[in-house]
Amino acid sequence: MMQRVAKSLLASRRPTARGTVAIRAAALATGVTLLVSGCGGQADGGGAGQSAQPTRGGTLTVALSAIPPTVDPYATSLQAAWTTARNVCEPLFDVSTSFEVKPVLVDTVNYDGKLTYTLKLRSGVSFQNGQPFTADDVVASLSRYLLTPGNGSILKGLTTGITSSGTDQVTISLKQPSAAIPTLLTTAYMMPASIVKDRPITSPVNDLVCTGPYKLTKYTADQNIELERWDGYKSPSGPSDGGTGEKKAYADKIVFTPLPEASTRLQAVQTGQVDIAGSLPLDVYDSVSSSGTAKALLTSPLSGSTVVFNKISGVMADTRMRQAFLAALNMTDIMGAGFGNKDFYSVDGSIIPEANKTWASTAGTENYNKPDLEKVKQLLKDAGYNGQPITWVTTKDDNTWYAPVLPAQQQLKAAGLNVDVQVVDQATLISRRTDPSKYDLFSSGIPTYADPVLLPYLQESFPGGWKNAQRDALLTKLSTEPDPAARKAAWDELQKLVWTEVPFLKFGTTKVLFAVSSRTQVERPDELAGYYYNTWLNG
């Protein structure tokens, strides 16, 4: 290829350089320089291969820190477990990388501004088993969705009924007006009524059949997941962007393989065994960029490192203990020690990161990153704390979850809180967090949501069990208020409440580092959070 480019460069110079050796040499030197700089740019990963034309074919191998225990998105609120569903299934509406909510399986949506949404489904869409996608499937899927904690339970609280009219029309009847229905439907993946009708969420679907660009061909828990391009896929139109617009399904196959260790994931990319590896320490950015064996891709600062407290039982159920925990922490130092390069993280108390400008807020952040040991002492005294161990369950499977843990533990120890850090794998953490007797706080991460109503941490049903009447009123307002300004005001109030009651705590926001093989081309790195259909392979 280098020879071809060099020849073409020489050829392009031929009319003016005929007979002039010096100019030929200069042209060759220029060509080589361009080639070298081109290679360098690719290694940096900044352009992510924008120069190459998209091509179909090949097997895209993605290394995950763990294969999720289920591929059914209704069975867990953990977004890391939705990776399969995001490529195999589709919701009625989905979110772009700029957090716009757009129709996917819906053709038109009609809201009367009061109590009725009428959704007309896209025609010609069918499931991967050949069955046509109809309104009955939507009703069956949404009926199951209403059983899920989080967004499903909010939707349930807002609706009085979901009915089908004919094969392509669904009517959603509301208890009170709400502009948030399309947003709440962005996590409701559609499956055939024959599979999900009357199926409880405690009975997960492990052979997903959906309408997405890839079909699930193999799922072995703890081993691997294989997807194959589905040729019967009918894509929505519009520019490709995250879960919205045209989905191109370039790779013939997508294989998810588990590699728990970050260093192993990185080496697997560098040796060409896998094409994409995520959740890497940000410190390796420079070495990956300069290695020439892989490209380093950074997402926008989308990932919030957090802990969620047990508000049901145990020592952290006392609000004063949680406030003391917050007052003991110097987030600048914690984020600095955990993540290193200041360009890759921000110390901000906005629950929805700045990347989503609509909902980013500074409300209540006067309590954030204000370490005050005297205040901690007083709060601990008021709470009657006498040094009993505080169990913090965490995992190394996700770097954004684990990086702040040890620096925070050291600061808490200095402030008089006896924190016992227990490191487990992510699946164990997800299991343990459902039993309040097994933790006082657990590590987690907040991705950037399109709308705060999607934030599961605000739900009482989320592990940790936050009960608060003011929270209920503000959430209801957020779900039902049609005026955007009033909704923003409600969210500001709610964020203020979060930083006062401290049901969970955010350390800061980070970018997420991915290493991709030289042949892998990614147009929008933010899609690497789970969407792989727009990624293609060269050669």
Binding site: A262, L266, D333, G336, A337, V405, L406, Q409, Q410, V421
Partner: protein, 295 residues
């Protein structure tokens, strides 16, 4: 009246002549490699014992001092959280040597008692050795991991796991020696002279087992240090706030080419400690072996 003189009971067969501790030490220090090994090990022990006096808190961090190479301020550099490498290595020595020493002591006591009991009493032998066979049929790390999973993480759990994993080996070696000794004429003679079981145990059988017990104890020590490091390396050993060489090596995996000091110093400490003890064991065994002593 004739007096029947009864010959005095024959003196029990004297244990094999072993060099006395002073003699052993004298012979050891004639070997340069052994002197180096002892010096290194003593240095590690002293550093571990005096850790709070010579380094600061191993968990304290400075966010702006991450991944710094060795310098006068940080002799062993700093790690990925901005913690002092020297303090981590010294406190890591504390954890490793403590685990090794406690495990060695408990394993030796339990293994020796079980081994001698099995060698002396056939019923005990039948029961205990089947249990020992069962425990020894598991790979060491797998058994330790299973126990860690059941008992939960922590120093005490690590020690319990190690003792369960290692005592069968000691018991088996001691048993074989005890079996040989219990068949010696001196034991019959001692019984004839009216010696009780405990006297026979402590006066005649145990001294014969000293050499294999000492060698086994040292082997258990090094194995315990290695297995603790291995468990911490895979995240199943000591809690993350307790410095450990194995955990430090695990953390360094993402920094192999960019921060060599993160793996180099804990690695050298681990290799040096295990190697030094092994050199001393080897030399001691050579000196204590009667066949070698004759040469």
């Amino acid at each position: 009246m004739s007096t029947v003189s009864t010959p005095a009971a024959p003196a029990p067969h004297a244990p094999a002549e072993l060099p006395r501790p002073a003699g052993l030490l004298r012979k050891l220090i004639r070997r340069p490699a052994t002197v180096g090994a002892i010096a290194f090990f003593v240095l590690m022990v002293l550093a571990a014992a005096a850790a709070p006096l010579i380094v600061g808190d191993p968990n304290s961090f400075v966010a702006t001092e991450r991944l710094r190479p060795p310098s006068p301020a940080h002799w062993f550099g700093t790690d990925n959280l901005g913690r002092d490498g020297l303090a981590r290595v010294v406190y890591g020595a504390r954890a490793s040597l403590l685990v090794g020493a406690i495990t060695c002591l408990l394993t030796t006591v339990i293994g020796t008692a079980v081994g001698i009991a099995a060698g002396m009493f056939r019923t005990v032998d039948l029961i205990v050795m089947r249990i020992v066979d069962g425990v020894m049929s598991f790979p060491v790390i797998v058994l330790a991991l299973a126990l860690m999973a059941i008992l939960g993480p922590g120093l005490v759990t690590v020690v319990i796991s190690m003792v369960v994993v290692f005592f069968p080996g000691v018991a088996r070696v001691v048993r074989s020696t005890a079996l040989v000794v219990s068949e010696l004429p001196m034991i019959d003679a001692a019984k004839s002279a009216g010696a009780g079981r405990w006297r026979i145990f402590f006066r005649y059988v145990f001294p014969h087992c000293t050499t294999p017990v000492l060698v086994q104890a040292a082997i258990v020590f090094t194995a315990a240090v290695l297995v603790e490091s291995a468990l911490s390396f895979i995240g199943a050993g000591l809690p993350p706030d307790v410095p450990s060489w194995g955990a430090a090596l695990a953390e360094s995996r993402s920094y192999l080419s960019t921060a060599w000091w993160m793996w180099c110093f804990p690695g050298l400490a681990l290799i040096g400690t295990v190697l030094s003890v092994n050199i001393v064991i080897d030399a001691s065994r050579d000196i204590l072996d009667p066949r070698e002593a004759d040469k």
